[in-house]
């Protein structure tokens, strides 16, 4: 199996925020904590495009590299997780993250006192899979149930894809081929020119 990845097809994303509320729903994420967000550029003008972002589960994750207490680990599937018992909430990963993924809740069921919280790719954390303790600290563990992140599974237009990167890229490639127009992935036009 390859790594688990997210991919957001900006030609499909309509900024409906289903991914955001699906995440809230699945993990009972408290008000003020956003593991996932939809970002829109050129809002209200030609060229307006949106993409949904969360922790991208980098293969060589900067958060892991900079963490002073080494609380991060990466699962065999490439999901970047952390141990909240170890985390000191220093915010160093916040500096390092290219996506602004880390969150620092003040209270609630995501481990109080400002410890870092972020998207887990619905894979819980270093507690017994499916345990109450895991849910309280990290949210549900869908991967252990054989299910993929709910944000992608419920995406209104199937813009947000999640899963084995090989499958995700296969789905996306098939779409781009059928469309006959450029890639909706972020940065495609910059990388390949607007008429590819």
């Amino acid at each position: 199996m390859a790594r688990m990845k997210f991919l957001c097809d900006a030609d499909r994303c309509i900024e409906c925020n289903a991914c955001v509320t699906a995440c809230k729903n699945e993990h009972e994420v408290p008000w003020g904590v956003n593991r996932r967000r939809v970002v829109t550029i050129n809002d209200g003008q030609p060229g307006e495009r949106s993409i949904s972002t969360a922790c991208m589960h980098c293969s060589d994750a900067p958060c892991m590299a900079v963490c002073p207490v080494d609380c991060f680990y990466q699962t065999d599937e490439g999901v970047v997780l952390h141990d909240k018992d170890l985390c000191i909430g220093c915010g160093y990963c916040f500096y390092a993250c290219p996506f602004g993924a880390p969150q620092y809740p003040q209270a609630g069921n995501f481990g109080g006192r400002g410890k870092m919280d972020k998207c887990t790719f619905c894979a819980g954390g270093p507690k017994e899979d499916g345990s109450e303790e895991e849910f309280a600290l990290y949210g549900r563990n869908r991967l252990a149930e054989g299910k993929l992140p709910l944000c992608a599974e419920m995406c209104s237009t199937k813009a947000l894809l999640a899963g084995d990167a090989d499958t995700v890229s296969d789905i996306y490639r098939e779409r781009v081929t059928a469309r006959g127009f450029g890639g909706g992935v972020w940065g495609w036009n910059t990388a390949y020119g607007s008429d590819t």
Partner: protein, 940 residues
């Protein structure tokens, strides 16, 4: 599309922990607050947790009909999973749909019956509440007559509740009954039905996959129907040009191939401008028009004046762009035309909807896969509530209010016509349209001599309706203050609970949501789905049909009302209600969708094709998902439903259809019936009128009737019995057996001679900045309709544009629905939109001296004003402002939060756009004008 795998044996015993986690804890904490509340069941469950059950329901927000898969354990809704098997949503949801499990918390729900006493909310028992409300209703009935009580129903009812609600009003003795359809798509229903027979979406969301072009006008599905976008974008990706016409550069427009910025309220002008190019270049479908369209020559005469120059003068759309989009539509057939509130909510709404239909007729796009008028209805069951007649101008099934219509339903209900007539003030009032919801305010405020009923309205029953979706809120506040009785039946208090300034005479009755009951619901594409009950009603809430029963019992009409319907422990049996309307809804084929068939469809969703909606193999083989109406005949006929209206390439027995023969057979000496066009396998190879017993006899087909059918027909009206009134279904069965459509085979009519504008005309809005166009395109003369005066010219003739120079339009946000009382009470949604705002162009903001994020006053010409945040954006043109209509709880700068019952105030409050919304009603349906008015904007 690749086949979808099934997931076998996942590794983990799922979510055993949840019993003791936050959700259940919240549940039991709440249960502690409400002694006797049913939620205790969850708390009382044995430790260790029961099995997790998947319960299938349907989202209660919009009309796409997204299936909701709820995970329920020990009576608690613990999880929501994607419904991948649903052909409508393929597992997808929008922000609202993905958050419906918030029901498990329900923290801002109305918990028990309450009444306002000396300005304070007091708790009541259900018995006491029903008794007090019932007594007051009886007093009003005795002193002012049954028409002084207004029964305002809801598109949030399921079909059974909607039908029961309309029937209840009939037994109360009034036609003052209505619901949100009046202010959402009434102009569509009237305009479209009067063009070709039925006033509904002709194809389906799924069928848009087949479209070669998409013309979307006055709609913003990316926010209002987000899951429909998966189907639209699929068509776009397959090469269909996607044209979006809107005054605002919406999130939908951001995905368009061609965005057309139109001046608000100039739709007819744009469509005629397009037809000008179509006719000029000979791009119309001559053969289709010849065989299936009447009256197009009269349209040509009007279109001739809409030259590119004149079109541009009125619409603001560059002439070259009009030609370009017309050519796109002409070159890419079949294309679909889609519209929503941007087209319907105008004084000329019915003209707009008919113009869109005529565009499709001229292009020959009707009755075809990929074509059609795909009208996106609003609420989850607004189609069903419309079909089942929660309307002031008709009984269920669009039978109207004539004596014949009443007699038909009296037969179905098992009561005499005289019994019903005795409940009304007069047979004249029984057969005349009631006051529509858009005008109830005038039913209170107008002098009674100015009303076509004996007394004004004294009591309002808001049963699942948010007042802030209606214009003229300052007037509404006055009307609310003046009533004798104001009742809210709703899961939430709604703005109604706080908008008035009363000290007493207000009751709040907590209704269950559709996840707390079960029954059928009709999606926009006319498919019926069956919801199962996910959880028991929270707190002391009760389902609508139970509340109706209790009230009927108190008013002593329960006996005849529930003649055919079993009542168990005060709750009428839903399936009995379905079966009763199955026995009466012949007009639109709500007769074949029995509870059993619908449940079978839900259980076998995965077997239906995602484009055609047809089951291939499996228990529903050959049927279309949800048996889209018309599903002709009774259950025994096993009709598969009609996926595409007026599609002659299929036999009627297989879901094909012709245009309906609804308007006679001759007009001005011309044949109105179809000309050598007929549906597949039709034994009559030409047009024909609607079927009656007499017609069957003339054709010699009456011998195909069974003895039972024949005697039923004889007992109804003999030879005059027709396909609509034959309760045996024999006439429909025999017509279909011979390949014919029971409702006849006619041409669509481009000219609706019984409407104020037979040929749709452009008319300037009542409040317009374009005074130069008023003389060329004036509005109507003042008139009367639906028991109330209707003003046009007397408003338009005064120039408000100097003091109010900016056009104000309104619309939706993805996070909220309708009046927003439910969605603003859902923290997962409320967090995403915490401020009411007004979109203003940078030029207007700079001229008025405010910046993005500033507080501003938006003031309307009728005195309404709102204090909101400025959102400075190029999404709107200079001179145009936009506000969403979902907010409530602030009124002209005043915060109303402390007026809500404690703990039932929504998380987010805000000014209602309709506080600024002004007068203006459609000339046929009394639809409110909420898309064009004027305002002035200043820094606060």
């Amino acid at each position: 599309m690749s086949s979808r795998p099934s997931i076998a044996g996942t590794a983990l015993d799922r979510r055993a922990f949840l019993r003791n986690s936050g959700i259940v804890a919240a549940g039991s904490a709440l249960a502690g607050l409400v002694p006797g509340g049913r939620i205790e069941a969850a708390d009382a469950a044995p430790a260790g947790g029961g099995d997790i059950q998947n319960v299938l329901s349907v989202c209660t927000h919009c009309s796409v009909g997204c299936a909701v898969t709820a995970e329920v354990q020990d009576g608690v809704w613990i999880g929501q999973e994607p419904s991948f098997d649903s052909p409508f949503n393929l597992g997808a949801h929008c922000a609202k749909g993905a958050s419906v499990r918030e029901h498990a918390h329900g923290e801002r729900r109305l918990r028990y019956p309450m009444k306002l006493v000396g300005g304070r909310w007091e708790r009541l028992s259900w018995d006491q509440a029903i008794d007090e409300v019932g007594a007051e209703l009886e007093r009003i009935r005795t002193t002012a007559g049954p028409d002084s009580v207004y029964w305002l129903g809801s598109a949030k009812h399921n079909n059974e509740q909607a039908y029961l609600f309309r029937k209840f009003a009939a037994f109360w003795g009034t036609n003052n009954v209505d619901h949100q359809a009046r202010i959402c798509h009434s102009t569509t229903v009237a305009g479209v039905a009067n063009t070709w027979g039925y006033g509904a979406m002709t194809n389906s969301y799924n069928d848009i996959h087949n479209s070669k072009s998409i013309f979307l006008i006055g709609g913003n599905p990316a926010e209002a129907h987000p899951v429909s976008m998966v189907h639209l974008l699929k068509a776009k990706e397959q090469g269909a040009p996607f044209i979006v016409v809107d005054p605002r550069f919406t999130r939908t427009a951001a995905h368009a191939d061609e965005y057309v910025r139109i001046r608000p309220g100039s739709d007819v002008a744009l469509v005629w401008g397009m037809l000008w190019h179509l006719f000029e270049n000979g791009w119309e479908d001559q053969a289709f028009i010849q065989s299936r369209v009447w009256g197009l020559d009269q349209i040509r005469e009007e279109v001739a004046r809409w030259t590119p120059t004149e079109t541009e003068r009125v619409t603001g759309v560059p002439g070259e762009q009009v030609r370009k989009i017309t050519k796109m539509m002409a070159d890419n057939r079949p294309g679909t035309v889609i519209w929503c509130m941007g087209g319907t909510q105008h004084t000329t709404g019915n003209n707009n909807t008919r113009a869109y239909c005529i565009l499709q007729l001229a292009l020959g796009n009707m009755g075809k896969a990929g074509g059609g008028t795909n009208i996106f209805r609003g609420h989850d069951n607004v189609q069903g509530a419309t079909d089942l007649g929660v309307l002031s101008h008709t009984l269920p099934g669009y039978y109207g209010l004539s004596e014949g219509a009443w007699k038909h339903w009296a037969r179905v209900w098992g009561v005499s016509y005289e019994t019903l007539a005795a409940r009304f003030s007069s047979s004249k009032l029984m057969q005349s349209k009631g006051i529509p919801v858009s005008r109830w305010v005038d039913g209170v405020l107008e002098d009674k001599d100015n009303l076509d009923q004996p007394e004004g309205l004294k009591a309002m029953i808001f049963w699942g309706h948010a007042p802030n979706s209606q214009t003229r809120l300052p007037d509404m506040r006055k009307a609310m203050n003046q009533l004798d009785l104001l009742v809210v039946v709703d899961p939430y208090p709604t703005l109604t609970a706080v908008l008035h300034e009363r000290q007493d005479g207000v009751y709040l009755l907590p209704a269950a949501t559709q996840f707390e009951t079960y029954g059928s619901v009709t999606a926009s594409n006319r498919s019926l789905q069956w919801r199962e009950r996910v959880v028991e009603p929270l707190f002391e809430a009760k389902p609508d049909h139970e509340i109706l029963y209790r009230l009927a019992d108190r008013l002593e009409i329960a006996g005849p009302l529930f003649h055919n319907i079993e009542v168990r422990d005060n709750e009428p049996v839903i399936e009995d209600i379905t079966r009763e309307f199955n026995r009466g809804m012949w007009t639109i084929g709500y007769t074949g969708q029995t509870p059993e068939r619908l449940r079978k469809h839900m259980a076998n969703m995965a077997t239906f094709d995602r484009t055609t909606l047809k089951a291939e193999g499996g228990p529903c083989d050959g049927e279309y998902f949800g048996l889209p109406w018309p599903c002709w005949g009774d259950e025994k006929l096993a009709h598969p439903g009609t996926p595409i209206l007026y599609d002659t390439s299929q036999a009627v027995a297989d879901g094909g259809l012709t245009f309906r023969a609804r308007f006679g057979v001759l007009r001005e000496g011309e044949n109105l019936l179809a000309d050598r066009s007929f549906s597949k396998d039709s034994e009559i190879e030409d047009g024909y009128p609607e079927f009656t017993m007499a017609m069957l006899k003339r054709l010699g087909w009456d011998s195909d009737l069974s003895e039972q059918e024949r005697s039923a027909i004889e007992s109804i009206a003999g030879d005059k019995t027709n396909w609509k009134t034959d309760l045996s279904g024999g006439i429909q069965r025999v017509a279909i057996m011979h390949g014919c459509a029971p409702f006849g085979n006619a041409k669509a009519r481009a000219v609706v001679w019984n409407f104020p504008d037979p040929v749709p005309l452009h008319r300037e809005p009542l409040y317009t900045t374009r005074r130069d166009l008023v003389s060329d395109y004036p509005t109507y003369e003042d008139t009367r309709g639906y028991r109330v005066p209707v003003l046009y010219r007397s408003i338009q003739e005064r120039d408000y544009s100097k003091d109010f120079p900016i056009i104000l339009t309104t619309g939706r946000l993805v996070e909220y629905e309708g009046g927003g009382d439910e969605s603003r009470s859902n923290p997962w949604l409320a967090e995403l939109q915490q401020e009411m705002f007004c979109e203003v162009h940078p030029r207007d903001a700079n001229n008025a001296g405010f910046q993005d994020g500033d507080d501003i006053w938006v003031e309307g010409p009728e005195g309404g004003r709102v204090l909101v945040k400025a959102l400075v954006t190029r999404r709107v043109d200079p001179g145009v402002a936009f506000m969403p209509f979902h907010f409530g709880g602030r009124f002209m700068g005043q915060d109303l939060r402390d007026r809500y019952p404690e703990g039932a105030d929504p998380y987010v409050l805000g000014e209602s756009s309709n506080t600024v919304g002004t007068y203006g009603y459609d000339s046929v349906t009394q639809m409110q004008e909420s898309k064009v008015t004027l305002c002035r904007i200043s820094a606060a």
